[in-house]
């Protein structure tokens, strides 16, 4: 056993003795694997592909159009996490809308959006709720608070997504041979291990829940390698904080009280049953879709290969637009927009000297 990370990963490659493909599912992992240099240390035997793990990237163009529609309504203050600003819909982005005079405000927490509504009772405040199971409980808590306080000018456009249905789609795709999923530890803290058990049990795919430090991600990769070598697929946590098998019951019950799983469109992956989180009937007064009577938005196809990228079928540089007509300066697809998008990460870290 060598001391360095690179040495240990190299050793894992030699023991594996064949090429394996692991998918990191979380956008933060995608970025951190580059940023910490872990990617540059992987042996030939281990190929890492990026999955649909950036909540901005998987937001469908039709949902961006819905957000743009709301943001452009007179009198609306549209609050959003910063990552969403530059994602193109069929006609411009929220950042463009802001440049044209829409009142689009960047916030860092759902609570700030509610606070904004409290402070400006004469304006409609809409919160664009994006994210996976890690951010949905915060949205739920804010909605409960809004109801408790009887706030009338606050609503939520829920674009929240659930991770497990997307993984099921990928695990069952015949043309995708994923030998293991590197799962984000913080999603595990909330959901527990249980919602991922179908992956080893039904599809025989190893899973490891890992943190975001170099050592922790390497430990996750090593755990996947171990399961492959022993042919013993399971869901194992190497996350430093305790992942309880049942997750965080309080966060889960918050989510369940406010949201119900619903059919939702994912950029590049299509519509999936139970993959989104819609507001329950009790909360319909806070549902921006109903409150503003949103029309349906048509799907506009683009030449961007984000579907193939998000499902790990191609690496970002294999997209014909990558680095030519699609760059971080003028992104065509969402994977190039978000800092956590796999195309942006490959473009930012993966060129030149590092490859």
């Amino acid at each position: 056993m060598t001391e360095t990370l690179e040495g240990r990963l190299g050793e894992l490659g030699r023991v594996l003795g064949r090429r394996v493909t692991f998918m990191e599912v979380c956008g933060t992992h995608t970025v951190e694997l580059f940023r910490t240099g872990v990617r540059s240390m992987l042996p030939r035997e281990i190929r890492l592909i990026s999955g649909p793990g950036c909540p901005v990237c998987v937001t469908d163009q039709r949902d961006i159009d819905a957000a743009l529609f709301l943001a452009r309504l007179p009198g609306v203050i549209f609050t959003t996490y910063g990552d969403m600003l530059r994602v193109p819909g069929s006609r411009g982005s929220l950042g463009d809308a802001r440049g044209e005079g829409a009142d689009v405000r960047v916030i860092t927490s759902a609570a700030q959006a509610l606070e904004g509504a409290r402070q400006t009772p004469c304006r409609e405040v809409v919160f664009c709720a994006v994210g996976f199971e890690t951010t949905a409980p915060a949205t739920a808590a804010v909605l409960l608070e809004a109801r408790r306080q009887g706030i009338k000018n606050f609503s939520v456009l829920s674009l929240h997504k659930r991770v497990p249905p997307a993984l099921e789609l990928l695990a069952s795709a015949p043309d995708l041979a994923v030998d293991g999923f590197l799962l984000p530890g913080h999603v595990g803290v909330i959901l527990g291990e249980e919602p991922f058990r179908f992956l080893p049990e039904k599809f025989g795919v190893p899973c490891a829940l890992a943190g975001f430090e170099a050592e922790e991600m390497a430990a996750g990769i090593a755990e996947l390698g171990r399961q492959v070598i022993l042919r013993a697929p399971a869901v194992r946590s190497v996350y430093p904080r305790a992942v309880r098998p049942e997750g965080n019951p309080r966060a889960r019950s918050l989510m369940e009280e406010v949201f119900s799983p619903a059919r939702a469109p994912w950029r590049g992956l299509g519509e999936m049953a139970s993959s989104g989180l819609a507001l329950r009937e009790d909360f319909s007064p806070f549902d921006a879709r109903r409150r503003f009577d949103l029309p349906p938005f048509p799907f506009v196809s683009t030449p961007c290969a984000c579907g193939a990228v998000l499902s790990g079928r191609i690496d970002p540089p294999e997209c014909p637009l990558f680095g030519t007509s699609c760059t971080p300066v003028s992104p065509v697809g969402p994977c190039m927009v978000s800092g956590e998008g796999s195309c942006a990460a490959h473009h930012r870290f993966g060129r030149g000297w590092a490859e």
Partner: protein
């Protein structure tokens, strides 16, 4: 029609491209390849101009008035120019409190007094409410070059040593913490004039170029050097001066300290034979105690900045694009 976005003002690639397009309108034959912090004029002057707006206008470690003077004189200092004169433009919004304006002016005057810098011309405008965000300051500083040769990124040579005079991102992290309501005890902007720190280096023959890492931070300054100087740069994560307060804020907001603005921290490139002396002089200076050698110039990957990570891997440090945005999860 393409509209300007905040990204065009963030100091990264979009800002550089916009500045080049504007320069083209004046020089159709093409703007200069490399864009330096100040112009060295044939008549023997160094001159620079800078506009300032920041929210909040007063922050731990400084305010808009102090920032406006430091920003301008630092652009001179990094090219070996001692500032002598200042012009100041004030654009204020109708309804702006005069007391607050005078607070900023007092802070600006204090820096000028420290540097023996004379205010020689100025302008004030008050614009109708809603057409400007509070207060905008513009400063133009000029002075006399202290070296016969022009410091600049085209002087970079493989083997040169890169020194950084303090932890990256202190100003940017301070502003971000204030803007997003984060409590960051101990965090203060590095906003300060750089002359006292950098002037002792001016007589080193091996001094190549210097840069105050303002908008876009250390990462952007290095990226522009690599592209403008046509050389590769290699920096080591373990050798970067660190500030735990900056790292806390950056981690919370999902920002990279390498791309957060500094207002009193410079990167210095110096020939290897003069590097130990340059480092010793920086460390002796009041604001340079944390100076460290962070990397080297190399011919291995021209136009790219590479970083050797703490974990022992490698990656590219690219110019940031667009607005620095806090991430979602």
């Amino acid at each position: 029609m393409s509209l300007l976005t905040l990204g065009h003002g963030s100091g990264g690639r979009l800002s550089g491209d916009l500045a080049r397009r504007i320069a083209c309108a004046f020089a159709p034959e093409g703007p200069p390849q490399e864009m330096e912090d100040c112009a060295l004029l044939p008549e023997g002057w160094g001159v620079t101009l800078d506009g300032f707006t920041v929210t909040p206008r007063t922050f731990p470690g400084g305010n808009l008035g102090k920032l406006a003077v430091c920003g301008a004189v630092n652009d001179l200092a990094v090219r070996g120019v001692r500032p002598r004169y200042l012009c100041l433009g004030v654009i204020a919004e109708e309804g702006f409190p005069e007391d607050e304006l005078m607070e900023h002016m007092a802070s600006a005057a204090e820096v000028c007094a420290e540097l023996h810098l004379r205010l020689v011309a100025g302008d004030t405008k008050v614009v109708p409410r809603g057409t400007a965000d509070g207060l905008f300051l513009t400063t133009c500083a000029w002075g006399t070059p202290q070296r016969p040769d022009a410091l600049g990124m085209t002087r970079l040579r493989p083997g040169d040593v890169l020194l950084l005079t303090g932890a990256p991102g202190r100003h940017g992290a301070t502003i971000a913490a204030a803007r997003y309501g984060l409590d960051a005890p101990g965090l203060e902007s590095d906003c300060a004039p750089l002359g006292a720190l950098l002037e002792p280096l001016y007589d080193l023959p091996g001094l190549r170029c210097m840069r105050d890492c303002t908008r876009g931070g250390v990462g952007t300054a290095l990226g522009e050097w690599a592209e403008g100087g046509g050389v590769g740069l290699e920096i080591r994560e373990v050798d970067l001066p660190r500030s735990p307060e900056v790292e806390d804020v950056a981690q919370l907001l999902g920002l990279d300290p390498l791309y957060l603005a500094c207002e009193g921290t410079a990167v210095v490139a110096v020939a290897p034979e003069d590097a130990p002396e340059a480092l010793a002089r920086l460390r002796r200076s009041l604001r340079g105690g944390a100076s460290a050698p962070i990397g080297v110039v190399t011919d291995r990957h021209p136009r790219w900045v590479g970083l050797r990570t703490r974990a022992g891997g490698t990656r590219v440090v690219d110019l940031p694009v667009g607005e620095l945005l806090p991430r979602i999860c």
